[in-house]
């Protein structure tokens, strides 16, 4: 957005991390009228950081405020904890409970950063919300917007923004998207700008699970629910303490006593919340050839009917894979050029046309290469 012809009133979401601080600084340097805002997303923000870095601690809020002061922009903390709990955390738990594997970051971008936050920002007279995401917004000649991958594919975060629709995109600003700099260089830039967060470790995993223990978090929320671990023929191999603790494609932590007949590792193939059963089997059974997805969100207009070739990304740091996709009554039907592994219902599939994000949808069901599950 450095090509913006006019001075915009920009609300910069500042997590307290280095990326969002540099993004806000760049927006201000580009001549925009920038105000920083830290989103208080935790309903119990009283603790300073412990363990892995979260994004909702008092310390993060202080770091964001300090960065805003250095940049020389006003700074506020907005309490979106209730919305975040309802739209992101509760949804995250419910999805796991239903045997699916959600991505809360996409959900947060769709429902919080570019919905609750954006709506409030627009109502208050701001033109755009700025974040530290690595993605590029391209303005077409007719004024509409396209979302593209970041210039540096290694840092690209367009996947978690794939849920943004045209309106949301029209008010999004990603000042880091067009940089061909390494993370080390972003840190150098932060240091050069006097931003003390320059040396702060990267955030990772899920911000509201500060210690990184997703299983423990889910266990606390959902309780213990013992059930069977079975193979593809239905033979019981062991027990689990809650099917929600498993992810399709998971290999570690299955704690099955008897080895597989062929001696090869076994993976989670299916999670059935109805009978609280986890099915495991060989890697080959993970191969997915096609999927259906629901809740499509298009970055612009929906594709016209009929199968079309795209590339797809299935997880935040996943590789691109070639697919044929067509819109259906419920959403999307996707066929993979080559079988892929580790595809779980609940995950988002983001479709690309070259570097352009076409849209996204939530995976509902998969078709396996081998019969069985």
């Amino acid at each position: 957005m450095t090509d913006a012809p006019r001075r915009l009133r920009v609300l910069a979401a500042m997590s307290g991390g280095v990326d969002s601080a540099v993004a806000a600084a760049r927006a201000a340097e580009a001549g925009h009228d920038v105000t920083g805002v830290h989103l208080a997303l935790s309903e119990n923000p009283k603790s300073f950081r412990t363990g892995a870095r979260g994004c909702c601690t008092i310390e993060d809020s202080h770091d964001a405020r300090r960065a805003a002061d250095v940049i020389g922009i006003p700074f506020y903390v907005w309490d979106l904890a209730e919305r975040f709990r309802e739209d992101v955390v509760d949804d995250f738990v419910a999805e796991y409970e239903a045997g699916r594997t959600p991505n809360p970051c996409l959900r947060c971008n769709e429902k919080i950063k570019f919905a609750a936050l954006l709506d409030k920002a627009l109502a208050l007279g701001f033109d755009a919300v700025c974040t530290g995401h690595y993605a590029t917004v391209v303005t077409r000649e007719d004024g509409t917007r396209e979302l593209h991958r970041a210039s540096d594919m290694a840092k690209d975060q367009s996947y978690v923004l794939g849920v943004l629709d045209e309106r949301q995109l029209a008010h999004a600003m990603f000042p880091l998207g067009d940089t061909l700099t390494t993370k080390a260089e972003i840190r150098e830039e932060a240091a050069r700008r006097g931003l003390f967060v320059a040396k702060k470790p990267d955030s990772h995993d899920i911000c509201f699970i500060a210690d990184g223990d997703t299983q423990g978090f889910l266990a606390k929320r959902l309780g213990r629910a013992e059930g069977d671990i079975v193979d593809e023929s239905g033979t019981k191999l062991g027990t689990h303490e809650g099917a929600y603790g498993y992810t399709i494609g998971q290999r570690k932590g299955l704690r099955i006593g008897t080895p597989a007949p062929d001696g090869k590792p076994r993976y989670v193939l299916d999670i059935s919340p109805v009978d609280n059963t986890v099915t495991v089997g060989p890697a080959a059974s993970l191969d997915v050839t096609a999927l259906t997805a629901i809740r499509p969100r298009w970055c612009g207009t929906a594709p016209t009917a009929g199968p079309r070739p795209y590339t797809a990304q299935l997880r935040a740091h996943g590789e691109e894979t070639e697919v044929t996709a067509e819109t259906t009554k419920d959403g999307l039907a996707v066929t993979f050029a080559e079988p892929v592994r580790g595809v779980a219902p609940g995950q988002a599939i983001v479709l690309y046309d070259g570097t352009r994000v076409v849209g996204s949808a939530t995976i509902a069901s998969t078709t396996r290469a081998t019969a069985g599950v």
Binding site: D33, A40, P45, V77, D79, R83, K120, A123, L124, G125
Partner: protein, 389 residues
């Protein structure tokens, strides 16, 4: 820049700056016996006498602290510990629910850690404690009350408490009463002796003195248990090397405040009334917080709730236009919470979220009020469209 947040802090008076800078260049610990120490001690004691005179107290009743918060903590905790030590049954603390956090949180800490039983005194819709309510609370069992604490004037809504009447009730039962007079000093007539209080908190930076200096006015018969232990300065109640420059400047600001109070109150009161009229004209549904009778509120205070607005939104929009004020409520982790003061007055949480406090001071002008008058209407409209998140 339009600064309408003097209750948060007000610019230092030139005579305070002068008194402070003159002392900063001079060496001397007021506890030392040599000439440098004697010189510093003389400065401190002269300041003590001056501040005592400004507040209707004896010099020996002035205990310097590092600010209002410390003085409040010393009074509340120290008096509680001393009273409980003397009579173990005295663990009941009677406090107003509209106190500043420096008192509120100290009282709650005593409840959580020191076995205090806190009784929040009832207040009316203006946040005022009535002497009868205090009497009623005490008479349930006068023998178990450790202390009473009720602020002189509220920092958010400006309501003035009937401090002398309350203190007289407490005195009847020989119960020490503390009052946080941080907001009152400089705006109201504050006479420690006449008030009948056992202890009273004042702060430097709210009256044009420096930050980090305050005092607890403490009746000579009271010996609170210290919060800070050390060299035994300040009647052994508050240890720590005396901050001679800040103390000299605090006293200078105190002299100015008292000497110019009547004229200040007349002018600032008129300006405040103008502000209230202007805000009401621009936002007719704004609800004035606190006592509408000017005699019952701080002359420099105006407080409003704007239905359907988030205080933070109002603040952000005014800030963007160079108008600086406050929501008046305390922050937890930077997240605005509905003010405990407003909730105590019976205001609904939603309405309590949309508040702004405008506080005037010695640098305030008609132009400041005019700028606010022009901005506030559209700002309220816009904040309302953003709604309550």
């Amino acid at each position: 820049m339009v600064y309408l947040d003097h209750a948060a802090t007000t610019p230092m008076l030139p005579e305070a700056v002068q008194a402070m800078t003159a002392q900063l260049a001079v060496t001397g610990n007021a506890s030392s016996l040599h000439a440098a120490g004697r010189r510093a001690r003389r400065t401190v004691e002269e300041a003590r006498e001056s501040l005592a005179a400004s507040l209707g107290a004896r010099p020996s009743e002035v205990v310097f602290t590092a600010g209002g918060t410390e003085a409040d903590n010393l009074a509340v905790k120290g008096l509680y510990w001393a009273r409980r030590d003397a009579e173990p049954s005295r663990t009941r603390v009677l406090a107003s629910p509209v106190e500043h956090h420096a008192v509120l949180d100290a009282v709650e800490w005593l409840a959580e850690h020191e076995g205090a039983r806190v009784e929040w005194l009832p207040v009316d819709a203006y946040g005022r404690v009535h002497p009868d309510a205090l009497r009623e609370a005490i008479t349930t069992d006068p023998s178990d009350v450790a202390l009473v604490t009720v602020m002189w004037a509220n920092n958010e809504i400006g309501t003035v408490q009937p401090v002398a009447e309350l203190a007289s009730v407490a005195r009847e039962f020989d119960i020490p009463m503390h009052s946080d007079a941080v907001q009152a000093f400089g705006q109201l007539e504050v006479d420690f002796a006449a008030s009948g209080l056992a202890a009273m908190t004042v702060s430097g930076h709210k009256i044009g003195g420096p930050y980090g200096i305050g005092a607890l006015l403490l009746g000579r018969e009271y010996a609170p248990v210290p919060v800070l232990h050390g060299g035994g300065q300040e009647r052994h109640v508050r240890s720590g090397t005396l901050d001679t420059p800040a103390i000299a400047a605090f006293a200078a600001a105190g002299r100015h405040a008292v000497a110019h109070r009547e004229e200040f109150v007349r002018e600032i009161g008129a300006l405040r009334d103008e502000l209230i009229t202007a805000v009401r004209a621009a936002a007719p549904d704004a609800v004035l917080g606190g006592d509408p009778d000017p005699a019952g509120r701080l002359p420099a205070n105006a407080h409003f709730s704007f239905p359907g607005c988030e205080g933070d939104s109002l603040l952000l929009l005014l800030d963007a236009q160079g108008i600086e004020c406050s929501t008046g409520s305390a922050c937890t982790a930077g997240v605005a919470q509905p003010s405990h003061v407003l909730l105590a007055t019976g205001m609904t949480p939603d309405l309590a979220r949309g508040t702004l406090r405008f506080s005037l001071g010695h640098t305030s002008t008609k132009e400041d009020v005019a700028a606010l008058a022009e901005a506030i209407g559209p700002v309220v409209e816009r904040a309302r469209s953003a709604g309550l998140s």
